[in-house]
């Protein structure tokens, strides 16, 4: 009452409303549907927010499209780049082709810090704890036993002034499970939430009923425009899901948005400046298209992606003509002729990893790297992180290509320290054309202390995926287009020149059994000991304290005499 009146005098400097200010943040959303050779379909969502503000300098504290939780995190902890991926399943490169953006099974977090951060380890620990709270994932298990500092892999994907690798930290948790409670906070970071735009398709019951589900958050500084005089911050949220034709498609190879997500698109996010659906309709061979899409697309886009010329049918949700005929958009994909197994494309680079050996003392990790390019050789950077309880013998490291030994041109090995640091092995290996390279290393299994075993120790212990980074030469020259105009899935990785494209592959995680003690033994010992003691002591006590005395037979009462009479009648001896 009187207070408000008193305060009305406060604000005498009433300014009129200012002119409409230019908005400083931009949101683009995109969905890419790519049919995979075996009849499955992969859907990749990307939501990109570009914010023209410098989070590092000055007090930037007024957020609009960029989520406040991540913005404050980046500003407070001096983060330059942040990449977090939570994945369930494994991308089968041989069967499905090269992935646009792959992530290892479990949780992966790699971060570049600003040069102004003095104690990187402390900032790393705080960061993983805060992210664990934001995403409801157990990232707080990231500590020094699973964190490494790679020297050559994981170069910054955004703008970088200098690259001192001591500012980089990489950790992977292969045991982490991804489920709805991780999807919900991820969706909450989107400006439109899951209420409008492409995010309405993200329903957990369909997304997790799939062969591969990966959700990621990438934050990096980018150039504001072509002249690169100012820095903007880019947040990309990507979600890749592969629907299996047998599990989700009931065996039929025809897909539609409704079949995949049990939803259709009704509108674009009102805050987005661009909202598009791309469907990969590239012909696999020189004949006509394999795939037919309905309703007819608003336009067709051609691009060179990962060395291949591809054609995409584009549905622009912001164009008014799209929702003229029906209120919702349900893109349907029909296969025009049956799939031929000979048409399965082989990716240029793919890898496999397995563990071999017998017994619980030693073993061998083998990685097979395939270069299927007919005539070009290229180098690949292999990063392996092995936990400390598998003691690697580096003198047994052998790399064999086509029967001959292949010496890596760069090798960086950091041995493990028990209970403190894992093994880190980085190698730059030259892969000749059309070859298979086998990298083997032997290890010995350690016996852990009895409190260090996980609740189900006979399940095994996970070894995180190894990372292969390479610049794969492409047959077709690629143009370096403007980031703002080209689709989002082509601008994930910065391309240095048009003749090769960057690929990062992950191998399978390994499951290794360690010598496990029999945890039921303490119980057995207690039971046995107690039984022996009881029997021994009991018998001894009886022997010592039992006394015998004579008892007079009693004549018996009335009941006994009656019973004897009945027994005499029956002919049975008396009591």
């Amino acid at each position: 009452g009187g207070m408000a009146a008193a305060l009305l005098l406060l604000l005498l400097l009433a300014a009129g409303p200012g002119p409409g200010r230019a908005r400083r943040d931009v949101l683009r959303e995109e969905l890419l549907l790519s049919p995979l050779p075996a009849g499955d379909v992969a859907a990749t969502f990307q939501f990109r927010t570009r914010w023209d503000a410098d989070l590092q300098r000055g007090e930037v504290s007024h957020y609009r499209l960029f989520p406040k939780a991540l913005g404050r995190l980046v500003a407070a902890l001096g983060v330059r780049e942040l990449h977090l991926a939570l994945t369930q399943g494994f991308w089968r490169t041989q069967a499905w082709g090269q992935p646009p953006l792959q992530a290892p099974a479990g949780a992966e977090l790699w971060v570049w810090f600003q040069p102004t951060v003095t104690d990187v380890d402390k900032a790393w620990k705080e960061l993983s704890n805060i992210l664990s709270g934001i995403f409801c994932a157990s990232l707080n298990f990231i500590d020094s036993t699973n964190t490494v500092t790679p020297t050559a892999s994981f170069k910054p994907l955004g703008l970088a002034n200098g690259t001192d690798h001591h500012l980089l930290r990489y950790a992977v948790l292969p045991r982490e499970v991804v489920c709805t409670e991780n999807l919900t906070p991820w969706k909450k970071l989107l400006p439109c939430g899951s209420k409008a735009g492409l995010a309405v398709l993200l329903k957990a019951e369909r997304l997790f009923h799939s062969s591969y589900h990966s959700q990621a958050v990438h934050i990096r500084p980018v150039c504001r425009d072509a002249s690169c005089l100012a820095v903007s911050w880019e947040l990309r949220q990507t979600l890749t899901v592969v629907f299996d034709s047998f599990a989700s498609g009931q065996g039929k190879k025809d897909w539609s948005l409704f079949k995949m997500f049990s939803r259709t698109l009704t509108d674009a996010c009102p805050l987005a400046s661009q909202s598009k659906v791309y469907v990969d309709i590239s012909p696999k061979s020189k004949e006509k298209e394999l795939l037919e899409v309905t309703p007819p697309p608003t336009s067709v886009h051609e691009a060179v992606v990962q060395g291949d010329k591809r054609t995409y049918a584009v549905y622009d949700l912001l164009s008014p003509s799209l929702f003229n005929t029906s209120r919702s958009l349900n893109v349907q994909l029909k296969w025009q002729r049956p799939q031929d197994s000979s048409e399965l494309p082989t990716p240029v680079l793919h890898a496999q990893r397995y563990v071999s050996g017998y017994g619980l003392q030693t073993g061998e990790i083998s990685t097979l790297i395939y270069n299927t390019h007919p005539y070009r050789a290229f180098p690949v950077l292999l990063l392996e992180t092995v936990p400390w309880y598998l003691r690697l013998y580096v003198h047994t490291l052998t790399i064999i290509t086509k029967g001959k030994e292949n010496k890596p041109s760069y090798i960086h090995y950091q041995p493990a320290q028990d209970r403190r640091r894992p093994h880190l092995l980085e190698m730059l290996i030259q892969l000749p054309a059309n070859s298979i390279t086998k990298v083997t290393i032997q290890f010995e299994r350690a016996l852990l202390k009895w409190t260090e075993y996980t609740p189900d120790p006979n399940h095994g212990f996970y070894v995180g995926s190894s990372v292969l980074s390479a610049l794969v030469p492409s047959v077709i020259a690629m143009k370096d287009g403007d980031v703002e105009q080209s689709p989002l899935f082509t601008s994930l990785f910065p391309s240095s020149d048009g003749s090769s494209y960057f690929v990062r592959l992950y191998t399978e995680p390994l499951l290794v059994n360690l010598p496990t003690p029999d945890f039921s033994m303490p119980y057995n010992v207690i039971c046995l000991t107690c039984t022996v003691v009881a029997v021994c002591y009991g018998s001894f006590y009886n022997l010592l304290t039992r006394t015998f005395h004579v008892e007079e037979p009693s004549r018996g009462g009335l009941a006994k005499r009656l019973a004897n009479i009945i027994r005499k009648f029956r002919g049975v001896p008396p009591l």
Binding site: L7, G20, H62, Y63, L65, K68, L73, P191
Partner: protein
């Protein structure tokens, strides 16, 4: 163990020429001490000690009092005195002085001084002094509220446990909730509003704690309650008893401040959907609240900003809305004062309070806050140390980590 706390405040009673009452016990200048006991509970007691200095004005003070209005006098006097935090100065002016308007016998300034009209002798002056210390310094209720966890339940009024607990810092977050971005394209110049209106208040409060301000815009954030449509006023109404249910669903979207441990004060501005416009909050009697806002103690405040319907039904959606930050910041700053407990209690008649201007609060209001926070901090410290000592007495060989031990 009995806990004794003494709050000492220096007070000066300065007599302008022509205002000295006839019945002074000793000639000026002299000192006086008044101690009163404020009982809190059986084992704690607080004594308030006012050390009063009675003196006459200096030449410069007389010159300062020789101006036209009380406000100018107050400003001039502030430059002369070096009032330390917690002190109080009372200037007694003659009955016929033109400084105080008709009907007003006490004028409370923006800083730590007040002007009192002489008359009625020393006893009347002492009563005035008592009333002034109740207004400008601490009172039994404010101290009891600060020690609220020690006072048995029946004694405190309903407002006692509502103020923010004392803390080293506070985070203030302004959020704009737009549940209908298709109809309303809302824009607010929050950065300018914060710098212009909020920052001066926070600078004044920086003696109490560190403040940090940020803001965000949340889309598709709905209130948890469906408002009722009222046919007579053809508007939607939110009744008082549904207000507590409004906050919970919204709070999930607000996000917690991960990077710091300070308590957060949330101020939300809600722009209702096109289909629920206009929306008003009803108070207990059924009348719409004039500011259309409410606050929740120890949490923050919510204000509803109605957008007029477009003139023609064919107007293109979304409507562009530029929020009037003056109106909004008035309400939010008033709520901020209420959250901290800086509300004005009932003033005795013939008192005139000076408005604090752009800074938001007067020096003596800051003093009241500091008194309450200091008492609360001392009480918390003594409780914590006592319980730690009792714990260590009972468990002689408790294991404590090194970093915890270094903090004690």
């Amino acid at each position: 163990a009995c806990a004794q706390l003494q709050l000492a405040a220096p007070v000066a009673l300065v007599f302008a020429p022509g205002s000295v009452p006839g019945d002074l016990p000793r000639p000026l200048p002299f000192r006086d001490v008044q101690e009163t006991e404020i009982p809190v509970n059986l084992r704690t007691s607080v004594t308030s000690r006012y050390e009063t200095v009675y003196r006459s004005t200096t030449a410069r003070e007389e010159a300062a009092l020789d101006v036209a209005t009380a406000r100018e006098a107050d400003a001039a006097l502030h430059l002369l005195q070096d009032a330390s935090v917690g002190s109080l100065t009372l200037y007694v002016v003659p009955e016929t002085s033109p400084l105080l308007p008709q009907g007003v016998s006490v004028y409370v300034g923006k800083h730590r001084s007040a002007l009192v009209r002489a008359g009625g002798g020393l006893a009347a002056l002492r009563t005035r002094l008592q009333q002034l210390t109740q207004v400008m310094s601490f009172t039994a209720t404010s101290i009891a509220a600060a020690l609220s966890d020690r006072v048995p339940d029946g004694q405190l009024g309903p407002d006692a446990r509502r103020h923010l607990k004392s803390s080293l810092g506070y985070e203030i977050t302004f959020s704009l909730l737009n549940p209908d971005p298709k109809s309303h394209d809302v824009d607010w110049d929050i950065e300018d509003a914060v710098n212009r209106y909020v920052q001066p208040v926070l600078d004044k409060l920086s003696l109490v704690a560190n403040f940090s301000v940020d803001s965000q815009i949340l889309y598709y954030a709905v209130l948890g309650v469906t408002p009722r449509f009222d046919k007579e006023s053809s508007s939607f109404l939110l009744s008082t008893h549904s207000l507590p249910h409004v906050i919970n669903p919204v709070e999930a979207r607000l996000g917690s401040s991960a990077a710091s441990l300070y308590p957060v004060l949330n101020f939300l501005l809600y722009v209702p959907e096109r289909s629920h416009s206009p929306l008003y909050i009803q108070d207990k009697d059924g009348a719409p609240v004039p500011t259309n806002a409410f606050h929740s103690p120890r949490w923050g405040g919510i204000m509803i900003y109605n957008v007029e319907a477009p003139a023609s039904p064919q107007a293109s959606l979304p409507l562009h809305v530029d929020v009037d930050m003056v109106r909004v910041m008035e309400v939010f700053l008033a709520q901020l004062r209420l959250l901290f407990g800086l509300s004005r209690e009932e003033l005795p008649p013939e008192f005139l309070l000076e408005s604090p201007g752009n800074e938001g609060l007067a020096d003596w209001e800051l003093d009241r806050l500091l008194w309450a926070h200091t008492v609360e901090n001392i009480a918390t410290v003594s409780t914590t140390l006592t319980s730690l000592a009792q714990l260590l007495d009972k468990i002689g060989n408790i294991v404590i980590k090194d970093d915890v031990a270094s903090e004690v």
